[in-house]
């Protein structure tokens, strides 16, 4: 319950914080942190222009995508506080919810019969097909490390391991993997750049060129929410579940804020990949996760 609202608050502040950080680092003043809320509200009130070639799929696409991410919120725990729904394998459900949103957005991009959007669409599905194993490998590692198979129990018991060194290793590398995962899942640098001006080099952003008004507002909200979803997972890893609530809430907000700033810093200093290098880059995340998995499994099962 608490988790849902905390994540929601963070979600609205994510895009503003990232933009502000990037602006300050490039010597500009930048908009206010909560500017995003006004932008989204303005879009939600606006009228829409639809492509002549679009059909009903295009009309429902943004709403489905939004509903999926909002439902995914219900699965996110908050540092030991239970989420609305917690069951074994809830992370599988979460990832497939995001998959549903992506599916519908991709077919909507094909609906407007534009060459640009088709290009974005096939890149998006390919990148995510390559990306998904990384998340499951990471969750597999956490499962084997803690002996539990749902978000809530994993995050609650991750600090209860007697090898404090292995806890530190697992958490550090998990954060690294989740951070890289978050950037790709949210179509940020280094695989994609939402601020680029050339449609040919965009991936996710080119898919939503024809959405306008209410739908575009929902899409902006969705991408902010996705940040919050994965940001919360990272924060859950960092904050031990047995702390008192009046420590956890400020800690959670501070970590989310720091994460947003670090995304901004990362984006300011890192150039984007060459398009052809992207698949390799994405597979490398799975490779890191696989190495972590094998190390943990060897430690856990005492084979050596």
């Amino acid at each position: 319950m608490l988790a849902f609202f905390l994540v929601l608050i963070c979600a609205f502040l994510y895009p503003g914080t990232i933009d502000k950080t990037k602006a300050i680092l490039s010597g500009r003043k930048g908009p206010k942190i909560y500017q995003f809320i006004f932008d989204a509200w303005r879009l939600l009130k606006k009228g829409s222009v639809y492509s002549n070639s679009s059909s009903f799929v295009f009309q429902i696409s943004a709403s489905v995508n939004f509903a999926c991410v909002l439902t995914a919120f219900l699965l996110i725990p908050f540092a030991g506080e239970p989420s609305f729904f917690s069951f074994d394998g809830d992370f599988v459900f979460m990832l497939y919810l995001l998959g549903l949103g992506r599916f519908i957005l991709v077919v909507a991009a094909l609906d407007v019969s534009s060459g640009f959007e088709g290009m974005g669409a096939n890149r998006e599905v390919l990148y995510n097909a390559l990306l998904e194993p990384a998340f499951f490998l990471l969750m597999g590692t956490l499962c084997i490390f803690t002996g539990h198979t749902n978000f809530h129990d994993i995050f609650l018991s991750i600090y209860e391991n007697e090898h404090i060194a292995s806890v530190i290793v697992v958490i550090t590398i998990s954060i690294l993997i989740l951070f890289m995962f978050l950037l790709i899942e949210n179509s940020r640098i280094p695989t994609d750049d939402p601020n680029t001006h050339l449609e040919l080099t965009m991936v996710h952003e080119v898919m939503v060129l024809d959405h306008s008004g209410f739908d575009l507002g929902l899409i902006k909200l969705t991408s902010a929410f996705k940040f919050a979803v994965f940001g919360s997972l990272i924060c859950n890893l960092v904050i031990p579940g047995h702390l008192a609530l009046y420590y956890k809430i400020p800690l959670f907000m501070v970590f989310q804020f720091m994460l947003a700033i670090s995304i901004g810093v990362f984006e300011s200093f890192k150039p984007r990949n060459k398009m052809a290098r992207n698949p390799q880059y994405i597979i490398s995340i799975s490779a890191i996760a696989a190495v972590l998995y094998i190390v943990i499994i060897i430690i856990k099962s005492n084979v050596v």
Binding site: V57, L110, S113, G118, N122
Partner: protein, 671 residues
Amino acid sequence: MQIDLIIFQSAIVLSLLVFLFPIKLKYYAIMLPILAIMTVTSFWALGVIFSHQEKVTSLSFNISEQVFSFWSLIPQLFIDQITALFILMINVVSLGAFVYSHGYLKRYLGVKSPLGMSMHYFSLFLLYLCMLLLTMLKDGFMFLFIWELMSLSSFVLVAFHGEKAKIMKIAINYLVQMHIGFLFLLAGFLIANKQTGIWGFDALPYYFSSNNNFPLFLVFFIGFSIKAGLIPFHTWLPHAHPAAPAYVSGMMSGVMIKMGIYGILRVLTHVQYQLYEIGLTMAIISMITILFSISMAVFQRDIKKLLAYSSIENIGIICLGISLSILGKAFHINALAVLGLTGAIFHVLNHSLYKSMLFMLSGNIEKITETRNINELGGLAKKMPYTAAFFLIGSLALCALPPLNGFVSEFLIYKGIFKAIASGNFFVSIVSILAIIVMAISGGICVYALTKAFGLSFLGTSRKTYPQPLHEPPRTMLFPAFLNTFLMLGLGLAPVVLLPEISHALSAFKYMPLDKEVFETQMTVFEKFGLLSFILVTILFIVLGIRYWQQKKVKVSYGPTWGCGYSAGDAKHQYTSTSYAAPLKHIVSPLLKETNTFQLYKEEEIFPGERKFSTETKDRLEEYSILRPIHFLLQKIPKIGLAQTGRIQHYLIYPLAFLILIALLTAFNFI
């Protein structure tokens, strides 16, 4: 009197009358016996499911041992929980297919000969009947006979357009491969018979308890997997499915290839030892199957071929679930054993629903546009909204996305695997994580393939002018989609309804102790799971409602697609099937054989004429496993024929040489 048996028998006899009816009434003449059998068997199956008791029935009910009757050929029919689920699945899919065939075959009524139509209808009936009987039979001889009959009837169905040489070739290829599978099954039953003296599945428990389990299992596994389409025995499938009429492919892909799975399950129910080898072999084969077939699916232009490859992938997922469950048993991880098998059986049912529906919807496309090439389609959704909406739902289910049924079964398998990982066994963890990687990648690539199939053929602008204006097909051709969508949504939102029945079905497995604890935790999980799916749908409708309200208030207009300021773009600017698949091609290029045909310009050609470019991607595995060996044989076999000169003098020399050889060998005491 046993009224159900009388109906069952008279329906079988009445079906022969289809040959006598006039061509327009043949459909109704075959529909009546089919509906009768459907009702009877559904009652049997539901009775077994609700009473939790096995049913044993015999078709020869006036048992007088001396009098030979036709019905005593068919021995007793056994219906247990697994059989009951399969019967219901066959009935649902076949009902859809039969209703669908009415609309689909209308245009062939004047073209085909009455005998051809009768043969087609009768084969359809026979295929349906054979599948039903196969699930209920335990006797080996009869099982093989019906198995053969099923192959033959489906051969006749595939060869419906047999006047085209290409399709006849595909059908014969199918028939030959089925017979190779048949030989393996025959060998399997013979081996078991030699040891135990019993014919049929009843011999297996005795055989397995006293012999090595793995070799015999492998023989059966190869035999059944040729029918199921596991790699490397899949080569008939991507050809036979597109060649057959849509509802036949729906039935074949929906239920017939599941008979292979059913056979594997039946053999597995008796397996007792060597679970480790069996599980590992199956796991490796199914993982290769999944990855290979789903990447091949992306490169298909023919929408039915794409679906056929995706069927192979789904068979792979089912087998993966089964194999993981065996491994779970071998290493005493009950959660994996129970969840893997439950997931696999659930996936069999799910896949039959959405795949048969997708095949029939692609038949709708074919009927209206007269093409199945994705490169020529596009923009169908505006004129065929129902077909498009159902195809979208089917694709979502196929990609295993919530809140549809496909996700439930994959979730079960995922959950079993993660439970196994959490248990911390080294070997199981390694296999499990490989399985998870395979399933995750295949899930992603499945989205790739299905966004291509749906997005490029239904959405956008049409790439070609169609022979007739686009419109919805007749209602009978949408009926299976209605029926299956209803069931799919039901199973997706309330999986708790079916799960207890599947768990009861697991009790048939000798090696599987029914773990009550695993099952109960699973039920609470699925109550939450179903509720979450409901919430997803509710949120979606709320958002759509707000959107509807907002759109009524503001100004909504239509305009050209954003083209970077260039507004003269036409349908050719859209992505095609080939270009959509291009990024993946660089990654999976070793699996593909791509042939481009293009005639280069000559130097003396000052005013070049029209040129055509065509590109084709082929399954490289098919080339290595089927085409090259056949080519090799065709080259070598004539050389053996050298001895066969046709001259009587030569033929007289052979016995003489033989006699001399014998004499020599005897003289030197060799024999």
